[in-house]
Amino acid sequence: MTFTLYSLLEAALLVVNAIAVLNEERFLRKIGWGRDTVQPGAAYYQGGYASPQSTKSQIINLVNSVRTVMRFPLILLNTATIILLVLAG
């Protein structure tokens, strides 16, 4: 088992895909990781639920930004990887 740079790319692609498929409404909000808990002026935030500096709000922001930014490039990357794996095994 050698862990090549290509395996690193594959693993990174899978992780980013996993972050991208987290559904905002059906999942994140149910476990309290919704986007409205960190936006200023939100209902939760009024009660000091998650300050902007806390670890949880940083993770939520990271997840949201990854999903927003990588939504389109992931389509291209996944297509390219699928074609590559189908052709090259």
């Binding site: 050698t2 862990f3 090549t4 740079l5 395996s7 690193l8 500096q53 806390s54 670890t55 940083q58 993770i59 990271l62």
Partner: protein, 378 residues
Amino acid sequence: MDAPSSGWEPIDGPARAPATSAKAKSTKKHRSHHHHQSDPDVSNVAAPGFPVTGSTQPYLPGQYNASPMIPQGPGQMNYGGPQMAGPNQFQNYYPGAAPQFGMQNGPGNTFSMGTFPGAFQGAPAYFADPLANVAVAYGQSLAGQGKEIVNQNLEKWFSVSTLKFYFAVDTKYVARKLMVLFLPFVIRDWSIRFPPSQCVAPREEPNAPDLYVPSMAFVTYILASGVLLGLSNKFTPEHLGAQASENLAWLIVEILAVLITFYITNISSNLRFLHLLAFTGYKYAGMVLCVVATMFMGRWGYRMAMLYASLSIVWFFLRSLKVYILPEVTQADNGDSGGYKRRLWALLFITALQPVMMWLITRHIPSYSDLPVLNTTT
């Protein structure tokens, strides 16, 4: 205000104007036992204005921002020593910053012209044919522009001009660093005498991180694992490349994990990318020890060496990174009063990551421990 940073201009010895060459020669003579004559451009990097004979001034807060006339551009090194005085001394150490002082060296100062676009780098006129001279000069200016473009693009990822700081080491520093890595409980003084945000050459500050020891340890580890495989009659040349890329991939994973940890816990530390690269590369010295122990003492040698290397790298990390990550008592806190616990957790996580990575990478080593070539068994 910002000069483009191309800190790679060589300091031409003979082309310097005589006014400053006396000063440079005197500092060179003081430290002539530290460096060879073959690398003149590294010897003048980041030295304080006073001759270094092993005793440096302790860091007194408030003295470092008093260095005059060095604007902080990207990639500029603010190396204000406590006894810097006058602009004349800067020209020996900041080839990229010299033109900001109004060309005090005069027409003999060839190395200050490199920051102007399209300038010639002291093009010599070798040929009698003037057309060939023009061609040579044009080619040199093109090369200079290409170098500028490469440097500016690399600047986005890490600061290229500070890269040479990390390789400015001498034998005494390397010996001390190896002792720190293998016997960290012997060292009493872990403090860094310069402020951690400032770039400092490891030659001056024995506790500063460098990139020479990690890269040498990396290559030594790959070669040592090749030797171990060869003793088991299982060596192929592809093994070297496979090991190198695998180790590089693990290094990238580790640095990404550390960076994400810093982002999530929202701590602003003085650890830049190159510092992180240096610190994560230090564990390769322990891994070389593990491979050598496997060669001589089999599986039990590997286990004992791994235990010892893990303990020493954990000790080394805790003592070294304390300066960078945990806020000092005298330093003013920038708003996060609850940050101490988070920083402690981040530091502990990074430190615990090291032995885990060491074990992960060298996991396959003890399987080669029975060596038919040497006829030694466990």
